[in-house]
Symmetry: C2
């Protein structure tokens, strides 16, 4: 099983690498969104959440170094698809930014949580800790619901925006999986077979529907 073990270790480096680059871009995105905040309090709230992402980023880099990997190299295969996702879904309003963070991060976190089940205990604990919500979810739900209450037409536009986010996320995820054999293997071996992968996707889709209704949006 030597080959299998090497594959798993490569897959773990890949997983920590994609998570780390995701945290770095989450920082950027929250920092940008903070500048769109209608109040100084909102701006401070988002900047504080951005700062928390860098705490997670540090934990992931430390673990990569422990595993003998170079964080910069581990992140590099994922820079292009993650940047492409963000470039293709640049929010033009404060509310679009909040929906993107809530819906996009929620989807990503659900996916990583599923994958963490296939990892050793200490890596799983690390992955779950960096996925812990930094307070953004509650904040986004409160702001978006208040905005829709004030102007119900906003709900329809934001629902369309959320659908575009999901489409773009799927496109970029498929691109990553197609290029990284070890990640695809981890996914199929972990869930058992393709039917297992399909159940995993169903669980993620259900959780997404729940999140959309929490925001007051139809999915």
């Amino acid at each position: 099983m030597q080959k299998g073990e090497v594959l798993t270790e490569n897959a773990v480096v890949d997983l920590l690498g994609v998570l780390a680059y995701g945290e770095l871009t989450a920082f950027d995105r929250l920092a940008e969104d903070a500048r769109m905040a209608p109040t100084t309090a909102g701006r401070a709230a988002l900047a504080t959440m951005a700062a928390a992402e860098m705490g997670h980023f540090g934990l992931l880099c430390n673990r990569l170094i422990e595993l003998g990997a170079d964080p910069e190299k581990a992140m590099s295969p994922f820079a292009a698809p993650i940047d492409a996702f963000h470039d293709g879904t640049r929010p033009s309003t404060w509310l679009e930014g909040l929906v993107k963070a809530y819906v996009g991060d929620g989807l990503a976190a659900d996916f990583y949580r599923e994958v963490s089940n296939f990892l050793d205990d200490s890596t799983r604990a690390l992955v779950l800790s960096v996925l812990a919500d930094t307070g953004h979810a509650c904040f986004a739900v409160r702001e978006v619901r208040a905005a829709i209450r004030a102007d119900p037409a906003i709900g329809g536009r934001l629902a369309l925006w959320a659908r575009r986010l999901v489409g773009e996320a799927l496109t970029q995820s498929q691109r990553v999986i197609a290029e990284r054999d070890q990640l695809a293997e981890l996914l199929i071996n972990g869930t058992g077979d393709l039917a297992g992968v399909s159940e995993l996707l169903n669980r993620i889709t259900s959780a997404h529907t729940v999140r959309m209704s929490q925001l007051g949006l139809s999915s």
Copy 2:
């Protein structure tokens, strides 16, 4: 001395307010500069420093709340001059951003350290802790010196840039002092008289000259 005490407490709220808004904009600026970084490692280094500023911001807001002040209100008088400083000195390159952070934050930190001598022990300890360098100074010196070694002409341009920063910082500081009587009073009472203020400015100028030569720039 009732009047004097009230004045001092207002001056403390002012001082914490200007520091807090300064940290929030430092976060923004470092987050923006991070995007200009030539490498992912440089980007991560700056984003981590930005995150540390939000830690300081949180400490300042907590103290303002302890003092019965509203952080948003305490910051608001300083938003316009600090934003004007940043709008007037927007770096167009990665190196200009580093020089701005090193020279500008250095000047501001020296000024706040001087003022902290006039405060009660616990406020002074807080102010000194939020002024602690977040690792940016060493990083900036290393990058700027390496760039000048590679192309000495850069040194002249960056020295001019630093002079522009100092000019704009003085303009905006004078604007703040002119508008906030209690801060001006704290400064004059703290140093003893106008001669004391002049000595304070001399100390700050000397420290600035030392920083410029550390960067390899003439001041």
